[in-house]
Symmetry: D2
C-alpha cells in the first residue's frame, strides 16, 4: 500500500486525503500544512496520519512514497520539484505551475528520474467526461466542430489567480482529454468589475489545427451558477450540464449537412432522437487516486500526466497574454508527447 504525504490541508487537501483513505490502495502517511489549525482538523479526520507544519520535512520523510500537492499555485513548482528530487512520485493540483517554463522543468525532472508526475485534472475522471471521451473516441460525434462552455457563478474571487487560471483551467483540462487535434492559437478578452481584484470574467476562443473551435465563458460575477458545455460534431451533438443531478450528458442525433443539389437548399437539417446515457457515479477523485497509485505501481503514464499539465499551463499563459491586448490572437507552439 502506497504511503502518501498530503501537502496543504486547506480547501482541496482534505478531499485528496479522504479519497486516498477510501481508495483501498494507498494510505495517508503524513499531512503537512503551515497552519496549526489545519493540522488540528487533519488530526481529527485522519488520526493515524503523522502531522507536521513543515511541508519540506514531510517531502523528505523516507516513509513517504508519493506526495500530493494542494497548496497555492505559486508554490506548486518549488514543492513538486523538491518532491521529485527526493525521489517521490507527485500528484499536483491544477494548474501544475504558474509558468510554462516551470511546468516544463517538472516534466523533465520526472522523466529523468523515471517518476510518476500527474496533474489533478479532476473533471477528466468524472463519469460525464469519460462518457464524452468514449463517444468522441468511437467516432459517434463524427468530426468535432466546436466545444462551447459556460462556467459562471457568483464568487469566489481568488486573490492569487484570475478567473482564467481558476475556472477556464477546468475546460482546458477537459479539452486536452477530448479534442483529437492540437490548439494553435487563442484569443481572449478579460475584465474585472471589482477594482483592485483579478480579472473576474473572460471569454476565450481557441483555434485547433483541424479547424475545430473551443469557446470558454468564465465569470465569478454571475447571478446564477451555470456549468454547461455544448459540443458540436458532424454526426451528433452533446450537451453536458454539470448542474443537473441526472441527465448530465445529453446526446442529440441532430445536425446539418451541406446540400449537393444546386436546386435544393444549401444546408439540410436533421433533428433526431435525444439520448441521455446512465453515467458512472463513482467519485472522480477516487478514480483519479486509483489511477495515480496504479501508475506508481506499474511505472505507467497517467491519463493526466505532466505533459498534459504543461499543455494546459501553456494555453493559460497564452490566453493571459491575449487578454492584455483585447483579444490579439496568440499562437501556440504545439507540444506533443515525444
Amino acid at each position: 500500500m502506497i504511503a502518501i504525504g498530503i501537502a496543504g490541508y486547506g480547501y482541496w487537501g482534505p478531499n485528496l486525503a479522504r479519497a486516498v483513505a477510501a481508495s483501498g490502495c494507498a494510505r495517508v502517511e503524513m499531512i503537512a500544512d503551515r497552519m496549526e489549525s489545519a493540522c488540528g482538523r487533519a488530526a481529527l479526520h485522519h488520526p493515524a496520519a503523522r502531522l507536521t507544519e513543515d511541508i519540506y520535512a514531510m517531502i523528505a520523510d523516507p516513509a513517504v512514497d508519493a506526495v500530493m500537492i494542494a497548496t497555492p499555485v505559486s508554490t506548486h513548482f518549488d514543492m513538486a520539484m523538491a518532491a521529485l528530487r527526493a525521489g517521490k512520485h507527485v500528484l499536483v493540483e491544477k494548474p501544475m505551475a504558474d509558468t510554462p517554463a516551470r511546468a516544463a522543468q517538472l516534466v523533465d525532472e520526472a522523466a529523468r528520474r523515471n517518476l510518476v508526475l500527474m496533474v489533478d485534472h479532476t473533471f477528466v475522471y468524472t463519469g460525464a467526461v469519460q462518457k464524452i471521451a468514449a463517444l468522441i473516441g468511437n467516432g459517434d460525434l463524427g468530426d468535432l466542430y466546436y466545444y462551447d462552455s459556460t462556467r459562471v457563478n457568483l464568487g469566489i474571487f481568488q486573490r492569487d489567480v484570475d478567473v482564467i487560471w481558476d475556472l477556464a483551467v477546468h475546460d482546458f483540462a477537459i479539452l486536452d482529454r477530448l479534442m483529437p487535434s492540437q490548439p494553435v492559437a487563442v484569443s481572449a478578452s478579460a475584465a474585472t468589475c471589482i477594482a483592485g481584484s483579478p480579472a473576474n470574467m473572460a471569454h476565450l476562443s481557441v483555434y485547433y489545427d483541424d479547424g475545430a473551435m473551443a469557446y470558454l465563458n468564465v465569470n465569478w460575477l454571475s447571478p446564477v451558477k451555470i456549468r454547461q458545455t455544448v459540443i458540436g460534431g458532424s454526426r451528433q451533438m452533446v450537451i453536458y450540464d454539470d448542474m443537473q443531478t441526472s441527465e448530465k450528458v445529453k446526446i442529440y442525433d441532430s445536425g446539418a449537412t451541406a446540400g449537393t443539389d444546386p436546386y435544393e437548399p444549401m444546408v439540410s437539417y436533421r433533428m433526431g432522437d435525444m439520448h441521455a446515457p446512465a453515467l458512472s457515479t463513482k467519485e472522480a477523485l477516487l478514480t483519479e487516486v486509483q489511477e495515480f497509485t496504479r501508475c506508481v505501481e506499474e511505472n505507467a503514464t497517467p491519463l493526466t500526466d505532466g505533459i498534459s499539465g504543461l499543455r494546459v499551463v501553456e494555453i493559460l499563459a497564452a490566453a493571459t497574454l491575449s487578454t492584455q491586448s483585447r483579444g490579439f490572437p496568440v499562437d501556440l507552439v504545439q507540444k506533443k508527447v515525444a
Copy 2:
C-alpha cells in the same frame, strides 16, 4: 391614416403588413414583391391592398406615404434611397444596409429631406427589453459591468449573410438601446462547420468606453435553441431568457463589492431576492409600427432611428473584419447623434 407600401412579401413582410393592418393608425396601401406567388399570398390576406411585382413602381406611387422594406439585405440601400428620394418615409429591415458607408448615406439623405428613417430593431420594442431599459435608466442595476448573450439554435443557414449579420445584429440593436456608453473596440472569432456556407458560429467581445463589456455567442448549429442574456451591474443583475413563456426577465438582488478592511476578504458577496416583473404582452411589432406612424405624423425621431441603424452596421462590419484575423481587435469610431 398613413398609407404604407410594403416592399417584399417573403418571410418578414407579411408580419409588417399584419402589424400595419392591426395598428389602427396606418393602412396597407400597396404590397410589392418580385415573385408572383408572393403577390398571390398577399392578395389573400390583404384584399384591399394594391399589388405589384415592380417594387420601384410602388415606391414611386403617389398614394404611398411611407415604405417598409423587407427585402434581402443587399437591396436595402437601393430601395431605401429610392424611397427617400421619392419623398417617402422609410422603415427598413435590419441590418439597415450592407456597409457602414451606405448606411451613412441613407442617414444623410433622410436628414436632408427631413424624412423619417427608422430601422426595424424589433427586440427594442419587446416588453422585456423595455423593462430592462427602464431598470438601467433608473439606475436600478447600478454601474453596468457586462452584457453576455447566447443566441444559438439549429438552422437556418442563410445564403446571403453569415451568423453575425443574422443573429448578432439582434444583440447589437439591443445593446444600442441599453448601454449607457459607446463601444470602442470589438474582437470576434467565427467559423463555418459546413464547407461552402457562411460562418455559422461566432463569438464576439465588445469593449465599451466606460469599461463595460458585451459578449455575444451566436451559432446556427446548436442542438438546442437558447436565447439567454445575463446583464451584470454593480447593484443588481438580470437574466433575460426569451425562451421562457413566463418570467422572461429575472432581476437578482445579488452582487459583489470590494472590501475596504485589509483584514477582511477582498470581495464580499450579496445573494438577495429575485424578482420577475410582469411584462407588457403587447406585440413588439405593433408597438414599433405605432412608433413609426407617430414619428411620421409628429416629425419626430424614432427610438431606433437611422443613426442607431448606422451604429449597428458599423459594429457588424468591424466584427466581420476582426474574424478575418482570429480576433484581432478592431477599433470603432464613435458615432453620436449630432
Copy 3:
C-alpha cells in the same frame, strides 16, 4: 372530396375549418353560427364557404356530407342527433354529450344508420400520444402500473362545465387510447375557490381491472401552467411534458423489481439511460380530419369513435358523482365495443 359543414365558429370551430381546408381530402362547404359576428369572421377566412346563422338549416342542407360540431357541450346531443337523422356523418367536439345516456343514444343512432360518429379527442392524434401508444402496444413499458397527470393553469374558468369536464376530459380521452384494461371505479374530490363558479380544481383516482391506477390533477387556479404526465411500467417509465418545445416524451429505462433472495433487499432498483425520441410534428387536428374523411370514405371505424366518446362521458359522470360525496368511490360498468 367530402363536403363538410362546421357547426359553431367560436373558439374551436375556426381550428376545425382550417384543418379541413388544409386536409386536401375535404372542403368547407358551409359554416353555421348563431352569432352574426362569427359568420363575418368565417367569411373572411373561408370565402368559398356558404354561411348561415341557422345551424339546423346547414345540417339539413343536401350539399353537406358530414357535420363537425363545435358548439357548447349542452347542445352536442341535439345537433349530433339531428345530423345523424339527416344522414350525415358526424365529428363532435369532446365531451361527446353531457350525459352517458345521451352519448349512448348517439352511438346507437349512428350504428343503426351505418354512419361515422367520431369524437374530437384531439390529443389522441398528437405525435406524443401516438408514440406512447406505440411503446405500450409493443410492450416496451412492460406491465402498466400507473398514469399520473398534472394539467393545471391560471384560467379559463368556464361557465357551463367544471374543470373535470373541461380538463380531465383530455386525460380520459388519452387513457381510453393508452390503457390496455378498463376502468372499474373512480374516486374524485373537487372544490371551487371562487364562490358561484363551477369547481375549479379536482383530483381523481381511477382504478383499472388489472390493478393499474390513473391519477389526474386538474386546476384552473394554478400560478403556472403545467402539462405533465408520468407513466410507470414494469420495464420502463415515461414522462410526457407537453409544455416542452422539444423532448416532450422521455423514456426512462428505470424501475424496481421485487427481490427473490430473502437475504437481499426486498426491492432492487434500476436507473438506466433516458431516451427522448423525435416525434411526428404533423398537426394533430390535421391527422384527425384525415382519419375522419378516411372512415367516411371507407365506412371504417375511427380510432376515437362514438364508443370511446361514450366511455369518456361515463367516467366523467362517475367522477362528478364521486365529488359530491368527498371521494366516495363510484363503480363503472365496463363498456366494451360489441
Copy 4:
C-alpha cells in the same frame, strides 16, 4: 449544556448526533444502537460519547438529560414512553408513533410529568417552510385555497411502513404548521406495483373546515425525483420546489376574482410579478435541535410538540383507512391544543 442520548444510529441518528454536536447548546453524552457495527461508526465520529448496544440502559442512565429517538417507527412508543417515565425530555423521529392511541398516550405522559415532548418534523424548520409560514401568517396569501404537493422519486421501498407513512408524513407535518384551519376528512387511494411490498404510491385529498383542500401525491416508483408544492391563496400563490438549489420559494402575485358585473366575464384574472425571496440557509436540523434545547431549558412548548405529532399520526391512520376502501372519505376528529 444539555446531555443528549441518541437512540438508534442507522440512517437518521448520525444526522441528529452531528446537529447536536454542532448546536453549541447540547452535547452527545451517549449513543445507543443494537448493532455493534453502528456503535463502531458512532465511536469514529463522536469519540467523546459513551456507546452502548442497550438502548434502555442509555435511557435509564442518570447522566442523560434528554433522549432523541431515531429507531424504526414500531419501536417509537416503547422507547419514548420509557424515556418519559425515566424523567427524560424526548425528541422522537416522525411519525411519532404507529397508532393515534399510542401517540396520545405519549402526549399525556409528557404533560403529566411536565417534560418536553417534541417530534422531529424537520421540514418545519427549513428556511423555505419558515418563509411560507410567515407569508401565510402575515396574510400575504389571503385566504388559503389549496396545498398541492408532489413528492415522488425512485426508491427507497421501506419494509416497515408504506409510502404514506414514509413520504406523506412530511406534508402532513408541513400542513400542520401552515394551515390556519383543521382537517375534517381525508380520502386516499393507494396501490403497490411490486407484489408483496407496502403500497408505493398514493394520492390523498384532505378537506379542511374552512373549505381549503390539500392534495398529496407520493410515489416511490417515479423515474425522476420531484419535490414540488403549489399553494393557492386568494391574494397570492406560492410554488415551493425543494429540488431547486436556488429560488426554492416563488411567490406569484397572480389570482382570479369573481366578477360582480353581470355583463362582464364571471371570473377575472390577474397575472402579476413573481418574487423569489432569499431564504435562510441555516440547516433545519440545527434550528430544530436549538428549539429543543431552548424548550428544555425554558420549560417551553416546541413548535412541533407532541400534540402536532399526534395530529399527524391521526391523519396518517385515517388516510390508511381510506385507502382500504378506494377513497371512501374518513372523518377526522379535530384535536386542538387544550
